[in-house]
Amino acid sequence: MMRSLRARLLAGMVAGMVGLLILFGVAVYAAVHRSLVDGFNASLAVTAKAVAGQIEQKGQKLKFEYDDLKMPEFERKDNPEYFEIWQDDGKVLARSPSLGTADLPRLSGSVAAPGFQALTLPNGRPGRAAGLESTPRMEDQDEDAGESRGDRASGLPAKAQRVLVVTARESGELESQLLRLRWILLGGSGGAILLSLLVAAAVVRRGLRPMNSLAAQIADIRADHLQARVARQGMPAEMTGVVRRLNDLLERLQAAFERERSFTADVAHELRTPLAGLRSTLEVAMSRDRSAGEYQEALGDCLAVGKRMQSMVDNLLMLARLDAGQVKLNPQPVRLAELVDSCWRYFSDKASARRIVFENALPPNLTCTADREMLSLVVSNVLANAAEYANDGGRIRVSPSGSDRPELTFSNTGWRIGQEEVAHVFDRFWRADPSRGGQGVHCGLGLALVQRAMNAMGGRAAASVQGDVFSVAVTFPGSGRVCAEGQSATNEPR
């Protein structure tokens, strides 16, 4: 299979052209051949008729006057013509001088439709022969009364005899004409094929120019220059679809690249601030001799910063793994109420210090089949977010919802910013508050992780705001089969 479209088009066009030319050449050759041979035959027949016209019947005798014929063609040395005449009884009446004692084949045919045949002449050259039977002219009695009378006196009625006249001529001229025709046709076809190859090549190149221009435009697009688009004007109708799809692809690529770029920048930015804290704490601590207590305090500060950085790196790694689909899930029955309670333990002290009320409204036997670790990652992060952003004296509530698909809703009071901002809560590094937060364990990755983790488990996470209440709903895949108020779970010890 040819790889190049140009070669394929070219080959198709040339093959078609060659076929057409062969058909045309054969047809022309056949027509010309026929017309030349017919002409040659006709002239042979004319000669034969002329020869036949010279035969006379006198009484019972046939007479042929060669001299009256006055055709030097039968005598000339070079390319002579031939004739031979037979009587009814098979005897040869006359031969052309050129024939000598040789014979021509006996070719039968009538005056109206003479017989023709190709043959080898006595001189060894190729030739054609025409043969016709005719009835010789009767000798007029008035011309030679005596003889005629005598014949009549013999008492026999003059019966008309038939003769066979065969003429032949060298067909070398015809053959050479046909040969010339063959060469002309062959050469012409060859030339036409060559010419058509050139024309086809030019046409194909011209026709494929938009593809080359497309290729050149695509080649110019670099990863750092994705805002480029392929120009649509000048493109043939067949390619506008391709160009449009290509531009769509570029747009998606650009968006993805931009997301990655801004993500990298965000990561660098997010790591810079704790690094600055770490470095300044260490530099200030080392700037002079200090008491053990002061060093201890500085080390404690550094440890806290280190933990924050570690949690951020862990979260980033988990995000990357989730995005790459590298997380292995081990689904097992999980009691949701219990899981929520155990996750809340990490936040309960700080939350109660801020008079935040926590309510777990899940039925104790609500069970769900899911990966326990992944699910606690989800619950912890949603709760951490709620605890961080709930207002002092506010409320955090976890409740079951969703009738056909199992769903948990985590809601907290204290949403302070515009409703439209809720669209961003799952973005990496997005924070309701652009600052890092005074105590700063929150780095803006929690809800992004929640969404990715739910997606990895085949479910989804959605956020909504009603008044000052912010809610995250996590939906598990499937129906009651996956998540149900399990009867068996009630028997297990709590």
Binding site: A265, A268, H269, E270, R272, T273, P274, L275, A276, G277, L278, R279, S280, T281, E283, V284, A285, S287, R288, A298, D301, C302, A304, V305, D433, P434, S435, R436, G437, G438, Q439, G440
Partner: protein, 224 residues
């Protein structure tokens, strides 16, 4: 010299405040933009160290507001945003210097000192009043080729007076530039420190450098 530090990341805020105070600066600290603006409006700081990503009001807005009100306080922008565009935007909004996190504390200190010098139209790190010489870079003082050892607070008092040499400086001005809200000092403390300072820099054989102007304050050096 009195600084305002507006930085919301607690560990960094703590380390910077400690380091700057140990370097002799009086430092007021806040973690949010609105409070920062309020501080900056209410006090004549020698320099402000400003983070850009702040709760309640971001650093650029704060800076633009200050400049719109005609405040000339030198502002050093301290941020993790490091692109050319960020720097240009920061400086065009009225910032005087731009330091990207993380940074060397020594460099920050040097830049802050340079901003403070510029406030008093002093570009040289060394100040001379008669035979008194002050090296602000390493905070050392000589009287008549003999080094004088001062505590950080005494040094700050001397440097502030030296920056305004020949002018009468009121107790309140001294208090505002040498003490921060962190210290619970009253303005009486100024007289006490002026006393300590006199004991260290005056020489009996020579006319006094640091004079009391009755009812108005103090003056270092002669009126030009």
């Amino acid at each position: 010299m009195r600084l305002l530090l507006i930085e919301d990341y607690h560990p960094l805020q703590k380390a910077l405040a400690k380091g700057l105070r140990e370097a002799g600066f009086a430092v007021d600290v806040t973690g949010d933009g609105e409070e920062g603006l309020w501080y900056a409006r209410g006090n004549d700081y020698d320099a402000i160290i400003l983070d850009l990503m702040l709760p309640k009001m971001d650093g650029l807005t704060l800076l633009k507001k200050l400049r719109a009100e005609g405040r000339q306080t030198h502002v050093l922008i301290l941020t993790a945003k490091d692109t050319l565009n960020d720097r240009v935007t920061g400086l065009n909004a009225g910032g005087d210097d731009y330091v990207v996190k993380p940074f060397a504390f020594e460099e920050l200190l040097a830049r802050v000192r340079s901003l403070v010098r510029r406030k008093y139209q002093d570009k040289s790190p060394s100040i001379r009043i008669g035979d008194l010489r002050i090296e602000t870079a390493d905070q050392r003082v000589w009287r008549d080729r003999e080094e004088v050892h001062l505590t950080p607070r005494e040094y700050e008092l001397l440097e502030y007076l030296a920056h305004r040499a020949g002018q009468v400086v009121s107790r309140t001005e001294i208090w505002e530039h040498v003490y921060d809200f962190h210290s619970d000092a009253s303005s009486n403390v100024v007289d006490v420190y002026v006393g300590y300072l006199r004991r260290k820099i005056e020489r009996e054989a020579k006319p006094p450098l640091l004079q009391t102007v009755r009812g108005r304050g103090y003056r270092l050096g002669d009126t030009p």
